[in-house]
Amino acid sequence: MRISQLLSIVITHTSISETIKECIAQASNGKPLHERDFNNLALELFTYQYRENSAYKNFCDAHDKTPESINHWHDIPAVPTDAFKAESFPLTTFPLKDTEKTFLTSGTTTESRGRHHFRSTKLYEQSIISAWRELNLPNVYSSFFLIPPPHQSPQSSLSHMMGVFSDQLADQSTWLIPESGSIDLNSLTNSIKEKQAVVLLGTALSFLHLFDSMKSPIILPEGSWAMETGGYKGTHHQLSKSELHQLFNTNLGLHSDSIINEYSMTELSSQFYSRGLNCAHKGPSWTRIRVIDPITNTDAKPGELGHLVIYDLANVDSVMAIRTQDLAMQSQTRLEHENPSFKLIGRDPSALPRGCSRSSDESLSS
């Protein structure tokens, strides 16, 4: 039985959010959330979400999991990301009328899109900034963003995140995609004449568009770096990470150790980062991950393939435990002081709709 249960303390939105905010603040100041504290806080948050999020409570009941029946964060039921698409059963701990912001997952007009509702984005924003600091990621110099700014794409969590980078981390910001949608390279070429290091941030796809639009390479000043995120879903592009890094090198003069990959999703409030090629993604100490072997539905051994499940304490107002359809490998056994990490393989191809022959799309790929 946990302390709050022993003392019959009712966990309120204010109490749990303030506790988590404080833990996140401490983590960014060099005091990461260690296992025991994480476990206690995760169980408190589960108790709160089980009580206040009725759609999630029903799901937990279907799994016979209640706050009374579990003692470890491992056992907190994880909702599949597709559950966020069920509009009739919003995954929130608050009435929908109190929503400040809703982010939508990407998708076409015919596809249903997942919705992540926020009562407030303050904790989400704190998580973005604090993770960057806790993970000792590089200084964000004069920054160039290759995605639409938040006011142009208010339903995109990625645009919102980049907006937070722009407002709170970057020395200077330039959004390279104006309303017209085409990439404006003038400001970037003018800036590098001053020989000051710059930062480029965008989706992997937006970088490909950037490279396509360049008439000649733009070699960035020393100390510059780039952050790319996302895959090529719904496009004809199929590029390996090393091929993408080669393009960074050819077009911008950046080596792999100056390229950061960000991994997150609309359904989360925290991010994971890797730097260079073949490196593990690391998350802040208020997150945990499991890699589940879907065949056995148990933890995959380190180095074996499975589906990524993420536990994110910053997801206070929805669901902390999210089951993704991304393939990953668990890093070696994590030590107490180490941040959670995994080797990302990518989107599981079976996450796409299938029918006759879609499963064996290899007739020509010999």
């Binding site: 279907a62 059963f89 499975g306 089951r323 599981d348 022959s357 290899e362």
Partner: protein, 358 residues
């Protein structure tokens, strides 16, 4: 070219072997003669000029057919090669890189004159493409689009792209559930003729429960192939998403094999046709008063077969406005007749050209 009757005799011998027959079904010499008569007007149409109105005409088989087959089931590969062999064409078969053992192994039962007409390739050279007069492709829409780009103006292209099948049950739930379990489970749903959704007139929840029991029974005697991590992930994701919906909506219900991924039955009231993630996962839905393409949604454009129970020609005819090319009896969806029009295409007539005299 050998006379048609010789090829028919050789094909009969090949298809008499159990290893071949399990995919082709039982085929007699008379069946093969009748098939040619139906498709070309006469079983002698490939051998001699025959009256054709004021003219005389002879069917000309393509010199070479390129068959690009998928790895989903060997079924389609056998069907395609039999069509090419009966008309005496040379056949290049491009199999998936992972192989198609059930097909290639069984070719040893084909008499030499037929085997001489078959080349198996796991990769294609430019020369192979150039030799083909006809290209038949079975695969995803993406694969078909990629192949289409390789087709030269003189080549005839026959595409069998993404397809999906459904069932409708009107009555006699016990028999229907047993037959449906077979149609859903065979080939682990990888074929175009595999059932993804079953529409029920009457108590659909009761049918789903009966189907779940039959899926378990079928699975006990015919265990599914092992699943890959990716396939297992898709089943887990479907089950968990359904569990979430079911826990919040009483019209949704999930039945699943215990401790295994052998089978999954999902009841939901939304009539829109949703693709299964395959590997014996099937949706059961109430039959709406009107079942049309609009209600079925975008996937209806890819309908191959509608299997109904009890089969009744009058009922089947009522469904003829749906885009499916085949309406058959439930339990038979995976066993099309030799005579069937594959995706609406006459399988032999579509391969030949004609030479006229007079």
């Amino acid at each position: 070219m050998t006379p048609t009757s010789e090829r028919i005799q050789h094909l009969f011998e090949a298809c008499s072997h159990q290893e071949v027959q399990q995919w082709t079904g039982s085929i007699t010499v008379d069946d093969l003669h009748a098939w040619l008569r139906q498709e070309l007007g006469s079983e002698r149409a490939l051998d001699q000029f025959l009256p054709h109105g004021p003219l005389k005409s002879k069917a000309i088989a393509p010199q070479c057919i390129l068959h690009i087959v998928s790895g989903n089931t060997p079924h389609a590969a056998f069907q395609s090669i039999i069509r090419g062999l009966i008309i005496g064409s040379h056949n290049i078969v491009k199999i998936p890189s992972a192989g198609l053992d059930a097909f290639t192994d069984a070719l040893r039962h084909f008499p030499k004159p037929l085997n001489d007409l078959i080349e198996i390739h796991s990769a294609l050279e430019d020369e192979d493409w150039l030799r083909a007069d006809v290209v038949i492709a079975i695969g995803s829409d993406k694969t078909i689009a990629a192949i289409q780009q390789q087709i030269r103006p003189h080549q005839h292209f026959i595409a069998h792209g993404h397809k999906v099948s459904i069932a409708i049950v009107y009555d006699d739930f016990e028999t229907a559930a047993r037959r449906a379990a077979r149609d859903v489970s065979r080939f682990n749903q990888r074929g175009c003729l595999s059932i993804h959704a079953i529409y029920i007139q009457g108590d659909s929840m009761r049918f789903a429960e009966l189907l779940a029991a039959e899926m378990e029974e079928f699975s006990n005697t015919n265990p599914p192939d092992p699943t890959s991590v990716s396939e297992a992930g898709a089943i887990r994701n479907l089950r968990e998403t359904t569990r979430f919906c079911a826990s919040n909506d009483t019209s949704v219900h999930l039945w699943e094999s215990k401790d295994t991924l052998s089978w999954t039955v999902i009841h939901q009231s939304d009539p829109a046709l949703q693709l299964s993630c395959l590997n014996r996962c099937v949706f059961v839905k109430p039959l709406p008063p009107e079942l049309d393409s609009k209600i079925l949604g975008a996937e209806s454009a890819h309908l191959s077969t509608i299997a109904i129970h009890p089969f009744d020609e009058a009922k089947a005819t009522l469904l003829e406005n749906l885009p499916a090319h085949r309406i058959c009896s439930l339990g038979e969806s995976q066993k099309p007749s030799l005579f069937w029009h594959h995706d609406g295409i006459a399988p032999i007539a579509s391969l030949v050209k004609w030479k006229d005299l007079g």
